[in-house]
């Protein structure tokens, strides 16, 4: 099939503002949008710039806004997105070049929620035990690949990048609900900040955008409830 990709371009060395450019390629319906972009880069215009690595939705490099919604280019097939595809960078982060954004503000929020296991007790000789039930409590949020689809689909984040954002809350959730972890109080304290979970307006764009099908809004609500009950 013939596919037309309308891509937002921006070269910081030449352009003062982003602009749109259209490319037409031959593609299979089962090709990924990423295949299309790479094909353009290889065959038509080597200056087209995006990030990509694993190409099957596990590394989180190629989050972009495709036909108006955040997705991974490698998890979007032309048969679902159609043959007229609009591709632009994810919103709310500075655009470096074409589809590449500066992920640093995003990573800063990620680091701010203590996204690491905290348990200062001397570990046992073998594994720490954890029941299957306790393990399942945070199963879903361990799937996060830090692609940024959720945070950059959030209208609150677009309005104010002080908001810690869904991805960071998901990462915190993964530890807050881990029965082995002892850092929950500190994380809840951080997330109770005015720029923490309370800026979530329950909009669901994050949940809809998550390529790992994490129920992000639900995870955020669980954190909110946890803070509420710890304060009341």
């Amino acid at each position: 099939m013939q596919v037309t990709l309308k891509i937002q371009r921006f070269n910081p060395e030449k352009d003062s503002a982003p602009y749109w450019k259209e490319y037409t390629i031959e593609a299979e319906p089962t090709d990924r949008v990423l295949d299309g972009l790479l094909k353009i880069k290889l065959e038509q215009d080597g200056t087209l710039t995006m990030r990509s690595s694993c190409a099957h939705g596990i590394c989180g490099s190629d989050a972009m806004r495709i036909n108006g919604v955040n997705r991974l280019a490698c998890k979007s097939l032309f048969q679902e997105v159609g043959n007229n595809v609009t591709v632009e960078p994810i919103a709310g982060l500075p655009v470096i070049k074409d589809l590449v954004v500066d992920m640093e503000p995003f990573m800063e929020h990620y680091r701010s929620v203590l996204p690491f296991f905290i348990n200062d007790d001397p570990p046992p000789e073998k594994e720490r035990l954890q029941s299957e039930e306790d393990r399942l409590k945070f199963e879903e949020t361990t799937k996060c690949i830090l692609c940024g689809c959720c945070t950059t689909s959030c209208p609150t984040f677009w309005a104010t990048d002080a908001y810690v954002g869904p991805a960071a809350i998901v990462q915190a959730h993964r530890f807050i609900f881990d029965s082995r972890d002892q850092g929950s109080a500190q994380r809840l304290e951080i997330l109770a900040d005015p720029d923490g979970v309370w800026r979530c307006r329950t909009i669901f764009n994050c949940t809809n955008a998550c390529p790992r099908e994490i129920k992000v809004t639900e995870a955020i609500a669980e954190v909110k409830k946890e803070i509420l009950f710890s304060k009341l």
Binding site: S112, L114, I118, N119, D120, T156, A159, T160, A162, Q182, G183, A185, Q186, E189, I190, A192, D193, P194, G196, W198, R199, K224, I227, L228, K231, L232
Partner: protein, 128 residues
């Protein structure tokens, strides 16, 4: 004792934010019922075209006066706080300049005060 990893000083205002969040839900639930009832009462039971001074006066001074005065007062306080807090959220989202944000928030607080004072005054002091 677990090591303290938080690199920032203890975040301020966290209790206020959680209470504000909780208040929006608690008052919201109550307001939803009260306002829907209020609207149905004024539009269906009274009828918009029939509203006049006597209707309002009768409401506060008639046989159910105590009930209506408490109902309206509750509505006034819950709604003013809910509404102005909502505007505060919007301010936090969209106004990033610290100075402007403070000015707008002060304005919101002032408006809130005036709403409760003016509204309360009439509900309490009205004597026909």
């Amino acid at each position: 004792m677990t090591t303290r990893y938080a690199r920032t000083p203890k975040p301020s205002g966290s209790t206020f934010e959680v209470l504000s969040w909780f208040y929006m839900r608690a008052s919201g639930a109550l307001l939803a019922l009260m306002v829907v009832f209020h609207l149905i009462w004024m539009h269906y039971v009274i009828g918009l075209t029939n509203i006049d001074f006597d209707v309002i006066a009768g409401r506060w001074t008639g046989p159910g006066g105590i009930f209506w005065r408490s109902y309206d007062l509750t509505l006034l306080i819950l709604a003013s706080l809910h509404g102005m807090n909502g505007i505060r959220f919007v301010t936090d989202d969209y106004i990033h300049n610290r100075g402007w944000r403070a000015v707008v928030k002060a304005l919101i607080a002032l408006v809130l005060l005036l709403m409760v004072v003016f509204g309360g005054l009439v509900i309490f002091t009205f004597n026909g």
